[in-house]
Symmetry: C2
Subunit: 385 residues, 2 copies
Amino acid sequence: MRDVAIIGIGMTDFGEMWNDSLRDLFVKASLEAMDDAGVDHIDGLVAGCMSPGLFAGQEHIGSLMADYLGQAPIPGVRVESACASGGMALRTGIAYVASGMHNVVLCGGVEKMTDVSGAQATYALATAADQDYEAFHGVTFPGLYAMMATAHMHKYGTKREDLAQVAVKNHDNGLLNPHAQYRMKITVEQVINSVKVADPLNILDCSPITDGAAAVIICPLEMAKKMKKKPVVKISASTHATDTIALHQRDDITWLKSTAEAAAKAYKMAGVKPEQIDFAEVHDCFTIAEICVLEAMGIVKKGEGGKATREGLTARDGKFPVNPSGGLKSKGHPVGATGIAQIHEIVTQLRGEAGRRQLKRARRALAQNMGGSGGSAVVHILEVL
Amino acid sequence: MRDVAIIGIGMTDFGEMWNDSLRDLFVKASLEAMDDAGVDHIDGLVAGCMSPGLFAGQEHIGSLMADYLGQAPIPGVRVESACASGGMALRTGIAYVASGMHNVVLCGGVEKMTDVSGAQATYALATAADQDYEAFHGVTFPGLYAMMATAHMHKYGTKREDLAQVAVKNHDNGLLNPHAQYRMKITVEQVINSVKVADPLNILDCSPITDGAAAVIICPLEMAKKMKKKPVVKISASTHATDTIALHQRDDITWLKSTAEAAAKAYKMAGVKPEQIDFAEVHDCFTIAEICVLEAMGIVKKGEGGKATREGLTARDGKFPVNPSGGLKSKGHPVGATGIAQIHEIVTQLRGEAGRRQLKRARRALAQNMGGSGGSAVVHILEVL
């Protein structure tokens, strides 16, 4: 099994991109990544996209993107794991490179979500939940995460303010990210007084509906070392785990089993302990999600995610910065693109190219990308050589 | 890169499966494959499915199936390449095994198409075409393949009867397949007089709308040899290629470039010539497709696919049997399952378990699975050791 490295990154601005179609977004991010890597040909392409059928009436994304990128007849495939589709695209690309089937592979993610109505978008997103037992009965994602939040508050004494602090902290970071959808400072009071979505979650606890794409170029580590254009970023671990996609089937709805499983495997694969990770990009689709993720990844003990956030552990100048990019909350959440955008931020930080939001310690970092309410989780650990 | 073998196969009946949901179908085929392989645990799962969002309101298929198969938290992902999603699931699983990331992987395909109206199904299928330049203007798949047929007839003198003969031959085969959706003999006259869909294609030139699933279990070849439960089927080649998904962008709409590219690479990878292949399962979504595929795979010369069919080359007792299973035409075409069902038939034949439809020579065979009007093509070559 060959070691794999990242040699190029690219992403579009995230937001309501009225002038760019699904294919435009993917191609823009991909061309930037190819330019950054200094390659004009790729051997294969993996596109992460959650529901282009429901959002844009277009499946067959792998071939479409290979063609519009001027790279057909290269193999081009789409992978889907709901909101973890981006992370899965990278993991699948790694399998292609590690196996020796391909050398230079583009792993991209894209979603064009604003061309449909809000109701249609909510329906499309709810297809990541269990259609027969959740969506059919009218539960959508804010409702599912609201139940997780309520249980967490009840079980561990997590405060409403702790949830709000996740959003406040991520907006503080996103303010410094030129690609972010919502570059504005918010306060705990604003979050708590914003319009109710599903109690206890308000609109400022929720990540937005977003258009956007991101792409990375990977190749065998040995090949990357020879290219030496920019600092080489090695992929030390790539793991994936699943859980029931329906909440009612879980022993404990505050515990993200798939994330716990994927993270534990990733630490083992990379040969590191959680305390050896400098920072992380995690899946804060709702404020409660980031709190549960911190616990499942073993960064804090069970039940202490809210307290840790309140005490500043995860702030940009804290001991373990989380979501320096602004996270899904501020940067935006084009679902299929999110997992790759996380990698984009990590590589930017590891190379020391993050400008005003550059972290002091940035040698090794973790990306956690999640599908649905935790039905799937993909974890990557990256380090700069 | 490790060699990979197939150690288990399973499939549901194909047809209108009113009593089985999307997940029921997948799990049924998967349990049969696991039983056939003699394994009660798998390390990973790849599900090929074209558009569960549009057909069943359900994405996040990889996790859902891993869970309902009782295998969570194993990694479970969905891949999509339109009607080539099944073939892509196998190819992706091969990458996972070949790389060493996993040992025993289940590659399945599924589609539940009959729970929506005919119009909705036609819309869902059209998302495999170019939404902006084809589907948006009202062209659906029968129309696209009708244009290919018209061009082929004009350019090469292919006769209406030649197209019909593909359907007649595949129904002759499907009659002997207990899993097939339409087990009935038809005649050239019946095809030519059946109701018009898109001139020159009639209803009996088209594959049907179908529910169904199929699954195979793969593992490293060396591991398979040690298990020795049944004849070991080695995967000698696995290739994938893309083309423009829109017909108007092609130099020649009678030439399936992605199939030609994938087949040429597959012959090279397996170290064989086309004449060393005993038989094939190919993507006859419309009668003209099988004719074009024969040419692109180099089985016959350009333009001679119709003539070869008329002369019996591809019949069950011909020199190069094609679609002994009944093909998409008679067996049915649950789009995401088709690529895996082709593999199911080939393994059944290679093991000598095909009963009344058993071919005389069955040592090495090829599967060709295609997305859209040829925007993607996946080719596998299998041989029994």
